[in-house]
C-alpha cells in the first residue's frame, strides 16, 4: 500500500484513504460552446498516459476531502511530489523525468 502525503493535512497517509481521479492539469474550457468537436473530444478522452513521470489528481476522500495533484513515476510507482490543485506542475530537482 502506497503512502501519499496530503498537502493539506501535511502528513503521509495510506493509499486507502485516497481516491485516484485521473490526469492533472486538464482544465475544463471556460466557454465549452465555442470549442470545436475535435477539441472537445480531446478534452474528454485524450490523455498522455506516459511511461515515467505523470501529473495526476488524487483526493483525500477519507481524510480532509481535498483534491490535490501528485507527480508519480508510473514505472516505479513512486510519488515524488504532491501539491495543491490549481497550482502549476512543479519541477523536480535531481530525479530524471521519464522511465527507461
Amino acid at each position: 500500500m502506497l503512502l501519499i502525503t496530503c498537502p493539506y493535512c501535511c502528513t503521509a497517509r495510506p493509499e486507502s484513504e485516497f481516491r485516484y481521479s485521473g490526469e492533472a492539469h486538464i482544465a475544463r474550457p471556460l466557454e465549452p460552446a465555442t470549442v470545436s468537436d475535435d477539441d472537445w473530444a480531446a478534452f474528454l478522452y485524450m490523455r498522455t498516459n506516459p511511461k515515467g513521470l505523470h501529473a495526476e489528481r488524487w483526493r483525500h476522500i477519507h481524510g480532509c476531502g481535498r483534491f490535490f495533484n501528485a507527480l508519480r513515476n508510473t514505472v516505479t510507482d513512486q510519488i515524488l511530489k504532491t501539491y495543491p490543485a490549481g497550482t502549476p506542475r512543479p519541477g523536480l530537482g535531481a530525479p530524471a523525468e521519464g522511465g527507461r
Binding site: 481521479s21 475544463r28 460552446a33 476531502g65 483534491f67 510507482d77 490543485a85
Partner: protein, 1002 residues
C-alpha cells in the same frame, strides 16, 4: 525416555516435560521444546512423506522453514485441519495429531510409487506437453478424461479442510522506527543496537525461540559465555524495553512498497488446549521507518544420484537436531562436506556419540580449517571424492564413494554402510524479502551467491549478516550491530563481539555432482521432484531463460518456492548452456515466503464483518413486520412486505393496488442527500445539473438530472430550495457518494470562484414517503405549523414544519404518479415517526410497500431509474428527458457533449414502452429486442428491455426498453426472442398510466 535416539543431555528441550503425540496413528513421546521433526527423529522415524511426482520415500531434509519433504497435516478437530505444515516448524504439544501426506494406502506401502516405473512419462514438460497434446479425440480429450483426474488424485499435497474455518484471526497495523526481521546473531545485535538508541523496535522471527542459528551452536562462546546464554541475556535486555516489541513465531512473508511489511504471527497452534475464543493467528501490517533484514542463509543439498533417501539431511539440520534438540538422527553417518558446516557437523555428531564413518569433500582442492580437528577425532577425510550412488529402500543403508568429476559414468568405488548422510553443499543467502522489496541482486563470485545490491527507491533498509554474505557468528554479530546503529542514524562503529569456535567458510559448491547410473535420480527440487536430467532436457529442448526453465520443469514452483533448490538448478542449467550463472538469470522471489493461511489474510473480514451492512432507522420495524430485504449497495432495503400466504408476486400486486387506491408508505431513507449551501449555491447547481435553478423559488422543488462531462446521465433526484442560499439535493441511493465526490471536484477544482459548500446529510434524515390518494389524510393529524392543503402546498414544493412534535422537511413529491409526500425527520426520530404514520396509514386501509412495488409504480408512469434505464451511454434526450434542460443555458456539465455528432445522429437508442401481445407474458429484463421473426445468429439487436413488470393497475404486463430510433417505431410491432420462441411486442410511449398527471393533484 522420549525417543531412543536422544543424546545424554544438553540442548534446549525440557527433558522433564514429556509430551505424547501421534504420527499416522502411532503414538510417540517427545519433550517440551521439540519440533515434530525432532521428536520423530528421536523416535527413529525418518520416513515422513512421499514425493510429489514419483511417490518416493522421503525423510527430513532440514530443520527449518525451507523443508521440502516433511509436509504433514495436523488435525485439531472439526474444521481445524491444517495441511502442508512443515514438520520442522510444527511445535510439539501434548496430544498433537499429525498425518503424513501424498501416500495411499500407507506411507510404507504407497501405491503411487509405481509412478517411478513410468518416470520417463513424467519428465520435464509433462504437463506442458499434455496440455498441448494432439487432438485425436477432440480438444484435449486425453487431458480431461485421463491425465487431469489421474494427476489430481495422485498429486495431492495435502487436502484443504472442507468445513468452515472455526478460528478467529486478528489484525494489527503497526509502526516502528526499526523492524528487524530474523533474530539470529545479526538480527539480535541489530535490535540491541537500535533499542540502545531508544528507537521503537519490532523484532520478529519465525521460530518460537529467538536466537536463530545461535540456538544450534554447541561450542561457540560470545563475549565469554556460551552462545545459548548470550541469546537468553540479549532477549532479556530487549524484553525489558517498553519500546521493543518481540514477535516470536512470526514470519515476515511479504515486503511491499515504502517499507510496508506483512508478518504472520502464530498465536495458538503450538498450544495443546488453546482458548477457543483467542485468535489463532495475527496479521501484522508494519510500516517501518527502517528495516533490517537479518534473514540468514539456507544450506544447499548436494546433488548426487539418489540423494533423496530418508536419512540424508543437511549438515546444518544435523547440527540443530543434535545440539538444540538433543537428538541423534543416526548411528553411523557419512558426511559430504563442501564447506565448514559439514566438518562442524561431523564434530558435533561425533561428540554426541554418532559414529562418523567418513567425511568426504567434493572440492578438488577443498580442505577446511576444521579438517585437522576432524582427523584428530579419528574420522577419515577424503578430499576430491563424492557420492556416486546410494542404497536403502525406506532409509539410506549405504553410499558408494567415487572420485568427484566422474559424472555420468557408473562408479565402481567402495560402498560405505551408514544410516545417516549429512550434506553441506554451501549456503545460499536468503534474499527473498530483499528481492520482494524490489531490490536488485548481484552475483558474487566470491560468495558463489546472489547478494543484495541496489535497494529499491523508497525502501529504507539494510541487510545484515548471512543474508548479505557475511557469514560466521562474529561477523554476523558485528554486521548486525552496525546495521542496527545505522538504522537509527548512528555511526556504524559499534562494538566488536568476541567469539570463539566460530566457523567461517560457507561458500561450498553448486550444481550437479554426478547424474549417476541409468535409473538413478539426482534430485534438485525435492518437493516438485525435479532431477538433473529434467533440467538438462529442458535446456536441450531449447529453454534458455531460467524463468522458462522454471515453468517447463516446475523447479522452484512448489510451496517451498525452491528455497533449497534454486541455486543448484541455476548452476546446472548454466553449466549445460555453457554460460556463467548471472547470464542465465534468477527467477522472481514471490510472496509469501512461506504459505500463509487464508484466515490470516482475511482477518475479521468475513461473515457479518465482511462488509458494513447499513440499515435505516425504520429497519427494525420492517424486520418485525416480516419484510423481505434486498441489498442496494451496502444498504438493506425492504423489498416487499408479504402477508400470510403471499408470495412476492401477490404481495407486490397488493401493495401496488393499495397505493393506487388508498395510500402506501415507503422507507426512502437511503436516498442520498446533500446540503448545498452558500451565496453561489444556485449558480453551482445551475452549472452541475441540466436544469435551471437560479429562478427556482424558495420552497419549490425541481427534478434534477446530472450528466457526466461526456453528456451521459449518471444521477437524478429532487432538489428543493430551502432558502435563497440553501438547497436540499437528493440523489439515488447508490449514487450518493459518487455525486458528492463529483460535486466536490467541480467546487474545488473547476469552479473555485463560487462560494458554495457541500455537506452530506444522507444519514441526518429519515425519509418516509407517503403516496396515494389518501396521503394528505394520513399526514393531516400528525403535522403542525404547516399547511399541507392542495393550494398552499402544490406538487413539487417543500416546507419546514413539525410532525409528531419534531422539526421536519416535508416535500410534496411523487415517484408513483399519486398524490405524495416525503417527510424528512432527524434520523433518531425516524422510527417513532414511522410508527405514528403507520397507525394513520392503517386507518385509511393503507400499507407499507417495498422497493419492488416502488419500481412497478414508477415504471407505470415511465419514470426512469438511473442504472436501470441508463447504463452510462444514455443522454437525457434518449430517455425523453430533454424537456428538463433549462432553457437558454449556456453551459452545464455535459452540455457541450450533447451536440457532438454521435449524440445527435439518428439511430440512437430511445426509451419506449413495450406491450406484449400476450398481456400475461412478463418479459425478462435484459432480453434483446429485434425486428422480424427468428433473426439469424449475429443479427444486431435494436435494443434491450430495461424494466419489465406485471402491472396490477393495468391488469397486464408492461416493459420499458431502449430501442434504436424507438420513438419513430411507436405503433409498430417488434419481437423479443426467447428460448421458448419469439415474444411479439407493440412499441408504445413509455407512460402507461395517467399520461396527463391528473392523479398527482389529488
Amino acid at each position: 525416555m522420549a525417543g531412543l535416539h536422544r543424546t545424554n543431555g544438553g540442548g534446549r528441550v525440557d527433558r522433564t516435560k514429556r509430551l505424547s503425540f501421534t504420527f499416522d496413528g502411532k503414538a510417540y513421546e517427545g519433550f517440551a521444546g521439540d519440533k515434530l521433526a525432532s521428536a520423530l527423529l528421536a523416535n527413529g522415524v525418518h520416513l515422513v512423506g512421499r514425493s510429489y511426482k514419483y511417490h518416493r520415500p522421503r525423510g527430513i531434509l532440514s530443520a527449518g522453514a525451507e523443508e521440502p519433504n516433511a509436509l504433514v497435516t495436523v488435525d485439531r478437530g472439526r474444521g481445524r485441519t491444517a495441511p502442508n505444515l512443515r514438520a520442522t516448524q510444527v511445535e510439539l504439544y501434548d496430544g498433537l495429531v499429525a498425518e503424513s501426506q501424498n501416500r495411499w494406502p500407507s506411507l510404507a506401502y504407497d501405491f503411487g510409487a509405481v509412478n517411478s516405473l513410468f518416470s520417463p512419462l513424467l519428465a520435464a514438460g509433462f504437463y506442458y506437453k499434455t496440455f498441448m497434446g494432439p487432438r485425436l479425440l477432440g480438444s484435449n480429450w486425453a487431458w480431461h478424461k485421463i491425465y487431469e483426474p489421474l494427476i489430481r488424485r495422485a498429486a495431492g499435497l495435502g487436502k484443504a479442510p472442507s468445513l468452515p474455518d472455526p478460528d478467529r484471526y486478528a489484525n494489527r497495523f503497526a509502526h516502528c522506527d526499526v523492524l528487524v526481521i530474523g533474530a539470529g546473531p545479526a538480527g539480535l545485535a541489530a535490535a540491541l543496537a537500535a533499542a540502545e538508541a531508544g528507537a521503537r523496535v519490532i523484532l520478529c522471527d519465525e521460530q518460537a525461540e529467538l536466537g536463530g542459528s545461535l540456538l544450534s551452536e554447541w561450542s561457540v562462546e560470545i563475549d565469554g559465555v556460551p552462545a545459548s546464554s548470550w541469546v537468553d541475556e540479549a532477549v532479556r535486555t530487549l524484553a525489558a524495553s517498553s519500546r521493543v516489541t518481540l514477535l516470536p513465531r512470526t514470519q515476515a512473508f511479504g515486503y511491499f512498497a515504502q517499507n510496508f511489511v506483512a508478518l504472520a504471527e502464530r498465536l495458538t497452534d503450538h498450544l495443546g488446549n488453546p482458548d477457543p475464543a483467542a485468535p489463532r493467528e495475527r496479521l501484522w501490517q508494519v510500516r517501518a521507518k527502517e528495516v533490517v533484514l537479518a534473514t540468514g542463509a539456507i544450506e544447499r543439498p548436494i546433488v548426487f544420484p539418489d540423494n533423496d533417501r530418508p536419512g540424508i539431511m543437511l549438515a546444518d539440520a544435523a547440527r540443530t537436531y543434535v545440539n538444540r534438540y538433543g537428538v541423534r538422527p543416526g548411528l553411523r553417518a557419512v558426511v559430504i562436506a563442501a564447506c565448514d558446516s559439514g566438518y562442524a557437523a561431523a564434530l558435533d555428531l561425533h561428540r554426541a556419540g554418532t559414529a562418523v564413518a567418513m567425511v568426504i569433500d567434493p572440492r578438488a582442492n577443498g580442505d577446511s580449517g576444521l579438517a585437522g580437528s576432524v582427523r584428530a577425532a579419528g574420522i577419515e577425510v577424503q578430499i576430491g571424492a563424492t557420492v556416486t550412488a546410494t542404497r536403502g529402500s525406506q532409509r539410506v543403508s549405504a553410499v558408494q564413494i567415487g572420485r568427484a568429476g566422474t559424472e555420468g559414468r557408473a562408479s565402481t568405488g567402495e560402498w560405505v554402510p551408514c544410516d545417516h548422510v549429512v550434506m553441506a553443499g554451501g549456503w545460499t543467502p536468503s534474499v527473498h524479502l530483499f528481492s520482494q522489496s524490489r531490490g536488485k541482486l548481484a552475483w558474487s563470485d566470491d560468495a558463489q551467491a546472489f547478494l543484495p545490491s541496489a535497494i529499491a527507491p523508497g525502501q529504507a533498509q539494510r541487510s545484515a549478516g548471512a543474508c548479505r554474505g557475511v557469514f560466521g557468528v562474529a561477523a554476523a554479530l558485528d554486521d548486525g550491530f552496525a546495521a542496527g546503529r545505522a538504522a537509527v542514524g548512528r555511526e556504524p562503529l559499534g562494538r566488536t563481539f568476541k567469539v570463539t569456535h566460530d566457523i567461517t567458510d560457507f561458500r561450498g559448491i553448486a550444481g550437479s555432482h554426478g547424474a549417476g547410473a541409468r535409473g538413478s535420480k539426482a534430485f534438485v527440487d525435492f518437493q516438485h521432484d525435479v532431477t538433473v536430467r529434467d533440467l538438462k532436457l529442458a535446456a536441450q529442448e531449447g529453454f534458455r531463460a531460467i524463468e522458462h526453465v522454471k515453468r517447463y520443469t516446475t523447479t522452484g514452483m512448489a510451496t517451498d518456492q525452491g528455497k533449497t533448490s534454486n541455486i543448484n538448478a541455476l548452476a546446472i542449467v548454466a553449466d549445460h548452456l555453457g554460460k556463467p550463472i548471472p547470464e542465465v538469470g534468477l527467477t522472481t522471489f514471490r510472496q509469501p515466503y512461506t504459505p500463509v493461511t487464508f484466515g490470516t489474510i482475511a482477518g475479521a473480514s468475513r461473515g457479518d464483518l465482511f462488509d458494513p451492512v447499513r440499515r435505516t432507522p425504520c429497519d427494525a420495524w420492517a424486520q418485525a413486520q416480516g419484510a423481505m430485504f434486498e441489498d442496494v449497495g451496502a444498504w438493506k432495503r425492504a423489498h416487499y412486505f408479504p402477508q400470510a400466504g403471499e408470495d412476492m408476486h401477490t404481495a407486490v400486486a397488493r401493495e401496488c393496488r393499495t397505493v393506487r387506491s388508498a395510500v402506501g408508505m415507503f422507507d426512502a431513507s437511503t436516498l442520498g442527500k446533500i446540503e448545498v449551501v452558500g451565496p453561489d449555491a444556485a449558480e453551482f447547481l445551475e452549472r452541475l445539473y441540466i436544469n435551471s435553478f437560479q429562478k427556482l423559488g424558495v420552497g419549490r422543488c425541481r427534478y434534477g438530472v446530472l450528466l457526466n462531462e461526456a453528456g451521459f446521465i449518471i444521477d437524478d433526484g429532487v432538489i428543493g430550495r430551502i432558502a435563497a442560499d440553501r438547497f436540499h439535493v437528493t440523489t439515488t441511493t447508490g449514487g450518493a457518494a459518487r455525486v458528492l465526490h463529483m460535486m466536490e471536484d467541480y467546487a474545488q477544482t473547476e469552479f473555485p470562484d463560487l462560494k458554495v459548500w457541500l455537506t452530506s446529510t444522507t444519514e441526518q434524515w429519515a425519509v418516509i414517503a407517503v403516496q396515494g390518494p389518501r396521503a394528505r389524510d394520513v399526514l393531516a393529524p400528525l403535522v403542525d405549523g404547516v399547511d399541507i392543503g392542495a393550494t398552499d402546498f402544490p406538487h413539487m414544493s417543500v416546507k419546514a414544519g413539525r410532525i409528531c412534535g419534531v422539526d421536519a422537511r416535508i416535500f410534496r413529491v411523487s415517484f408513483t404518479g399519486e398524490l405524495g409526500f416525503e417527510i424528512n425527520v432527524p434520523a433518531d426520530f425516524g422510527a417513532d415517526v414511522w410508527e405514528a404514520v403507520w397507525r394513520e396509514v392503517q386507518k385509511h386501509g393503507g400499507c407499507a410497500y417495498g422497493t419492488e412495488s416502488m419500481h412497478v409504480l414508477r415504471a407505470e408512469k415511465g419514470f426512469i431509474i438511473v442504472g436501470q434505464e441508463t447504463d452510462g451511454t444514455v443522454t437525457p434526450d434518449d430517455v425523453g428527458l430533454g424537456w428538463a434542460t433549462g432553457k437558454g443555458k449556456r453551459d452545464f456539465v455535459g452540455m457541450r457533449s450533447l451536440s457532438r455528432p454521435d449524440m445527435v445522429r439518428s439511430g440512437r437508442k430511445q426509451l419506449v414502452g413495450l406491450l406484449t401481445a400476450d398481456p400475461k407474458r412478463v418479459l425478462e429484463e435484459g432480453s434483446q429486442v429485434v425486428e422480424g421473426l427468428r433473426p439469424p445468429a449475429g443479427t444486431p439487436a435494436l435494443g434491450h428491455v430495461t424494466s419489465a413488470y406485471w402491472s396490477e393497475a393495468l391488469g397486464r404486463s408492461i416493459a420499458l426498453a431502449l430501442v434504436a430510433d424507438g420513438r419513430t417505431r411507436i405503433g409498430t410491432r417488434l419481437n423479443v426472442p426467447m428460448p421458448d420462441g419469439d415474444v411479439a411486442v407493440d412499441v408504445v410511449t413509455p407512460v402507461f398510466l395517467d399520461p396527463k398527471g391528473e392523479r398527482l393533484n389529488g
